[in-house]
């Protein structure tokens, strides 16, 4: 794998290397599509880019606003048999591993170009690290075909057993049950159910989501706190054991709901209960809730 690791001297060089790799892949017809990032309409905005022509590769950039976890887009190519190249940060690479584990995308159809991530910045305040980076386990992609290795790599303080998530969680856990209920009801009441958190989530890979069904209609079209709670709790359970803490759900929430608190709670519970590594660190892993050990904790006798 080593010849595929490209050293850069700083994060400003990453974009240039990205363009070169993408251009080569498209010119040699190794892949028919490269998914990366391009500049958005504002200096502090980047956006997903879909490049099919080698002369368009100059659009590609990597900067501190490339939050988007692009791996979800691979589902659009599902079943096409076409080869796709995709750029991933450390966190994104884990969700890609998750998609391969779930048989959503064949590993051999994907050319993974990893970027060892120098860390992202908040959109509104360009000196504070992005919140999604606080729950980072690995800034170096866990799976790649090419790696753009950047010395500025920075990981959040969230090693397994993460302290950031623990700090956040303890704020809720220090409340009484009734306070927690009030807190969450206040949060869920604000939810406008735009489903951005679900649609952006790279492990929500169902073709048809239970929340979209009309029969049975698990959640109604109307917005009410009870249905909103149902949505968020069920969604958290559905991604439990597969959530890679990429933080996309919380980033995209237009009304800033603390969606990741629920996911962190479940991720940390999994660590405590089942002594398992964080989800999707390795292609050979199986998702926590898709397996069991006879000696799992027993609380239900």
């Amino acid at each position: 794998m080593n010849e595929n690791v490209i050293q850069v001297s700083g994060k400003s060089e990453i974009s240039q290397i990205m363009r070169e790799i993408a251009r080569d892949l498209l010119q040699q017809k190794t892949v028919s599509l490269v998914i990366g990032w391009e500049k958005g309409i504002l200096p502090n905005k980047s956006a997903p880019a879909f490049i099919t022509q080698s002369h368009d590769t100059d659009k590609l950039v990597f900067d501190e606003y490339c939050y988007h976890n692009l791996t979800k887009y691979l589902l659009q190519r599902k079943g096409s048999g076409l080869k796709t190249a995709i750029f991933v940060k450390g966190c994104d690479s884990r969700s890609l591993v998750g998609l391969v584990q779930d048989n959503q995308v064949p590993r051999e159809d994907i050319c993974i170009i990893g970027i060892s991530c120098p860390g992202l910045m908040e959109e509104r305040n360009t000196v504070i690290p992005a919140k999604k980076c606080e729950t980072c386990y690995t800034s170096i992609p866990v799976e790649y075909d090419f790696l753009i290795d950047c010395p500025d790599t920075k990981t959040g303080d969230d090693e397994p057993g993460g302290s950031f998530a623990h700090r956040e969680l303890s704020k809720v856990e220090n409340m009484t049950l009734d306070q927690r209920d009030t807190y969450w009801q206040t949060m869920f009441q604000g939810c406008i159910r735009c489903y951005a958190c679900r649609n952006v989530c790279p492990v929500c890979s169902c073709k048809e989501c239970c929340f979209d069904l009309t029969s049975p209609d698990w959640v109604g079209k109307g917005n009410n706190t009870s249905d909103n709670s149902f949505y968020h709790l069920v969604r958290a359970m559905h991604v439990a054991g597969r959530c890679v803490s990429c933080g996309e759900c919380e980033r995209v929430c237009p009304i800033n709901l603390p969606v990741m608190l629920l996911n962190s709670k479940l991720s940390l519970s999994i660590e405590e209960l089942f002594d398992e590594p964080p989800a999707s660190m390795n292609l050979d892993d199986t998702a926590t809730l898709s397996q069991f050990k006879p000696e799992d904790p027993e609380e239900f006798m």
């Binding site: 958005g40 309409i41 504002l42 502090n44 905005k45 980047s46 956006a47 997903p48 879909f50 988007h68 979800k72 887009y73 659009q76 908040e122 509104r124 305040n125 504070i128 919140k131 956040e168 704020k171 809720v172 409340m175 009030t182 807190y183 206040t186 949060m187 604000g190 406008i192 159910r193 735009c194 489903y195 951005a196 679900r198 649609n199 952006v200 979209d212 009309t214 109604g220 079209k221 109307g222 917005n223 009410n224 996309e248 919380e250 980033r251 995209v252 929430c253 237009p254 009304i255 800033n256 709901l257 603390p258 608190l261």
Partner: protein
């Protein structure tokens, strides 16, 4: 123009709140600060209009994160109740509320969006009773902008951030004071309640608005779009969309709704209407399974054609007011300002 010091704005609000249901812009938490303790301080997650209460953290700096459209067109609204027993069906109308409302601090862009909503709900064939009831008892105090968000681009849509002629009262930012100018008879009436707090502001000039970062002039866009239904641009844009409803729910001019029901008991059915989004798959899907807009390409195309072309044809104006909410919040930056730029750059083959 009459004015009051910004520090004394609570006096005005208190006075108005005693006569009206007063809605004011309230600060919201940002993602960074969505701290679990904030809810105890009355902070909501996104800045929005809320019923005035003493001590709410008011937000005057820029426009609110959520538009005031839900005051006229709530996200979920009870329409009527039906009682269905054995073979009978009885229908009970919802009693309409009558208390007058003041919407305080609406920005020019949102004021323009209210005009858009009026065109949809009060014109073209039928009047919508529910919208009409709320709209008719609302008095609007518009607030001129002296600063703006990065994403704002109302000037591109020919909207003056300082002036909203359709409002009942125009508030101007005078630096350390707010200046009030009545613009209608209704506005005059409401100002009478607070006149005691105001002093004359001779020759006061509102703070100017900084130039906006986004400049996407609309000239020629609608005309160009008339020939762009089959343009490859839509295939190019749509893969990026993740199909959520954030843009439509935040958009102050998006008016689509669904009519559905809840059944509190076997026999009681509450009909309600709730916001719907043209970006959702089931939006146009018919009972037999046929869907006129089956893929993202058609849905994305429809949304932007609707904003920039169809509504211009149907309701006489482009349904974008440059509030920048989609620019700020679209998870993947597939928002209208970018799309306008792309349309302008697109080559059209005759």
């Amino acid at each position: 123009m009459r004015k009051i010091a910004k520090t004394r704005i609570d006096d005005v609000l208190r006075a108005l709140a005693s006569h009206y249901d007063l809605y004011v812009p309230v600060e919201g938490a940002t993602t960074r600060t969505s701290d679990v303790t904030l809810w105890q301080e009355g902070l909501v997650n996104a800045s929005r209009f809320r019923l005035y209460e003493e001590g709410l953290p008011l937000y005057w700096r820029t426009n609110t994160g959520l538009s005031p459209k839900d005051l006229f067109f709530p996200q979920t609204e009870k329409m009527y109740t039906a009682v269905s027993q054995n073979k009978t069906v009885e229908i009970y109308e919802e009693p309409a509320d009558a208390k007058p409302i003041i919407l305080f601090g609406v920005r020019s862009c949102d004021m323009a969006s209210i005009d858009c909503m009026d065109r949809v709900f009060l014109q073209k064939g039928y009047e919508d009773t529910y919208y009409r009831n709320r709209r008719q008892r609302t008095h609007i105090f518009a607030l001129g902008c002296s600063t703006h968000e990065d994403a704002c681009f109302c000037t591109s849509m020919d909207i003056d951030p300082q002036a909203a002629p359709a409002a009942d009262v125009q508030i101007s930012d005078l630096g350390d004071a707010f200046g009030f100018t009545p613009q209608s008879a209704k506005g005059q009436q409401t100002l009478a309640y607070i006149d005691g707090f105001l002093s004359d502001a001779y020759a006061a000039t509102p703070l100017p608005t900084d130039p906006m970062l986004i400049n996407v002039p609309l000239a020629g866009v609608t005309e160009k779009l008339e020939t762009m239904f089959d343009h490859p641009l839509w295939d190019e844009l749509s893969p990026r969309c993740i199909g959520c409803g954030a843009c439509t729910f935040l958009c102050p001019t998006c008016y689509c709704f669904d009519i559905n029901h809840k059944s509190p008991a076997h026999t009681h059915i509450v009909k309600q209407r709730s916001w719907d989004s043209c970006m959702f798959i089931d939006y146009t899907c018919m009972a037999g399974g046929h869907n006129p807009r089956p893929s993202k390409t058609e849905r994305v195309r429809n949304r932007f054609l609707d904003k920039l072309l169809y509504n211009r044809q149907r309701h006489g104006r482009v349904f974008c007011v440059g509030c920048g909410r989609c620019v700020a919040k679209c998870p993947v930056s597939l928002e209208i300002a970018t799309v306008i730029q792309k349309i302008q750059a697109a080559e059209v083959n005759p």
